[in-house]
């Protein structure tokens, strides 16, 4: 039997915890362009963000710049931005994944007919979207244009030296816009612009970063039996000659005794 005072104390503790969790899970929004600075000026640009997940709240990462929408602070966002790509990384630089993170995840927020989203192919929504619970800790998020993925040299670690797989304005030639040097050409061959808008919700904190310069990646894991994978040839040769020499001496002594 729990005493009423103890019960009251426990209830208060749970309530405080709940309040604390609610206080921890916050929402942030970021944008670039829309008549202001910060929009992409060419296809191969990237924007970096960091955020902290508490391990219990559902984290939502979503762009709303391709099809239009609303930032979490209530600012309306007009459609027309480039086809965005979000990549999640560890602070070490290790690429966790581009979104979608897991098999079965949707590529974008489920389409809702009649919302006025500027998307000519509702079956293939181009805004990037993830919602789920991440392990507690700090994460980095990179916004690029599709499909400017992190190259991931050094066992899939990001570094400023190896960067991303695309250079310059690559989308026009890739997707058939005219002229071919036109930036922000989506996979349907439509010209878009360099505006972008991002919501990060359900996190402890989030901020825009000017760059991402992780520490040098760890060495590639090697086979533990590497040194004995195959006997070094010269060592074998030396061993063979040593044995022949020993055998010769032995035979010589034997001959002397016979």
């Amino acid at each position: 039997m729990i005493k009423p005072t103890v019960m009251y104390t426990l209830m208060m503790a749970f309530a405080v915890c709940d309040l604390a969790n609610e206080a921890l899970a916050a929402s942030y929004s970021f944008s670039g362009g829309y008549g202001n600075l910060g929009g992409f000026t060419q296809d191969d640009e990237a924007r970096f963000f960091s955020f902290v997940a508490d391990g219990t709240s559902a984290v939502t990462l979503e762009t709303v710049s391709y099809a239009g929408g609303t930032l979490v602070d209530g600012t309306p966002v007009t459609a027309g931005g480039f086809d965005p790509l979000l990549t999640l990384l560890q602070p070490s630089g290790l690429v966790i994944s581009t979104i979608p993170l897991n098999a079965g995840d949707t590529f974008s927020k489920p389409y809702v007919a009649g919302t006025g989203w500027d998307d000519k192919d509702p079956g293939v929504l181009l805004d990037s979207y993830y919602q789920g619970i991440l392990d507690p800790g700090t994460y980095w998020l990179v916004l690029t244009q599709s499909f400017n993925l992190v190259n991931g040299a050094n066992n899939n670690y990001y570094s400023t030296a190896t960067g991303f797989i695309q250079q310059g304005d690559y989308t026009g030639a890739l997707n058939g816009c005219l002229p071919a040097t036109d930036p922000f050409c989506n996979f349907l061959g439509e010209n878009k612009n360099g505006d972008w808008a991002l919501n990060i919700t359900g996190v402890v904190s989030a901020q825009a970063e000017s760059t991402f310069d992780p520490p040098p990646p760890p060495p590639l894991p090697v086979r533990p039996d590497n040194t004995v994978a195959e006997p070094p040839t010269l060592a074998l040769l030396g061993l063979g000659f040593a044995f022949m020499r020993w055998n010769r001496v032995r035979l010589g002594k034997l001959a002397g005794r016979v």
């Binding site: 581009t98 066992n155 590639l220 086979r223 994978a229 070094p232 010269l234 022949m244 055998n247 032995r250």
Partner: protein, 241 residues
């Protein structure tokens, strides 16, 4: 007397072989690739920087994917063992096909070029451009989880041909593509807006163990024979036979 001269000659040949220089002599380690159904990497192997491109053709259930890889440098290495490497001048190319669901349907790889400085045991150098190693791709797997094994695409190889397989025992080997965003590439199979993508990474093609193992084995057998019949050798020394 005759046998003593033969021994002397062997010693001299051995010394010459021991001191023949390799074109490169850097310690090398084999990545700990762990991909289900694919043999691990080992020695000897070809190792080269490579571009890795995945391209989608068609759409819907009739779509297909072609994965190609090519060396990004005309000079790469044949790593005979952890301490002996030889320069290869040539090309590396791999081609693998996948169906609409991303299932592997077949492919091949080839390494053409020259390796004039090779001085390892058993196999002659390859002074002119030739098929150094070709193989059928018999299986595919991927490791996209970053843990104690590198993220990689792995292929099981068989039906070998070329310079590096003169002493092949026919067992399956492997080819790996790594040092790039493997999860990112694999996610493209299910992405409806995907067309083509290219990464820069590395390739490691393990070839069947050539001469060394055979030489070592036959040498041991010969030594064993000599040791078993010392009296006959002694008789030889004494000129009784």
């Amino acid at each position: 007397m005759m046998l003593a001269r033969q021994h002397e000659l062997l010693w001299r040949v051995g010394l010459v072989l021991c001191f023949l220089p390799s074109t490169a002599h850097a310690a090398s380690a084999v990545p700990n690739f762990i991909v289900a159904g694919i043999p691990p990497a080992g020695f000897p192997h070809f190792e080269n920087p490579a571009s890795i491109t995945l391209t989608k053709s068609g759409s819907g259930p009739t779509a297909s994917f072609l994965l190609t890889s090519a060396s990004t440098s005309s000079n790469f290495i044949f790593q005979y063992n952890p301490n002996s490497a030889y320069t290869v001048s040539g090309t590396y190319s791999l081609s693998a096909n996948f169906n609409a669901t991303g299932s592997f349907t077949g492919g091949n790889l080839s390494i053409y070029g020259t390796m004039p400085e090779y001085n390892g045991p058993g196999i002659a150098p390859a002074p002119t451009t030739q098929n150094l190693f070709s193989a059928n791709l018999a299986g595919f797997g991927s490791d996209i989880v970053p843990d104690n094994s590198p993220v990689a695409l792995g292929f099981k190889t068989d039906n070998f041909s070329g310079w590096a397989t003169q002493f092949s025992d026919g067992s399956a080997e492997s080819a790996y593509l790594y040092n790039f965003n493997v999860p990112g590439l694999m996610s493209m199979f299910a992405n409806p807006k995907f067309r083509t993508i290219t990464f820069q990474g590395s390739a490691m093609t393990t070839v069947p163990i050539p001469a060394a193992a055979w030489l070592f084995g036959s040498g041991l057998a010969l030594l064993g024979l000599i040791r078993r019949k010392p009296t006959s050798v002694v008789k030889l020394l004494k000129g009784e036979v």
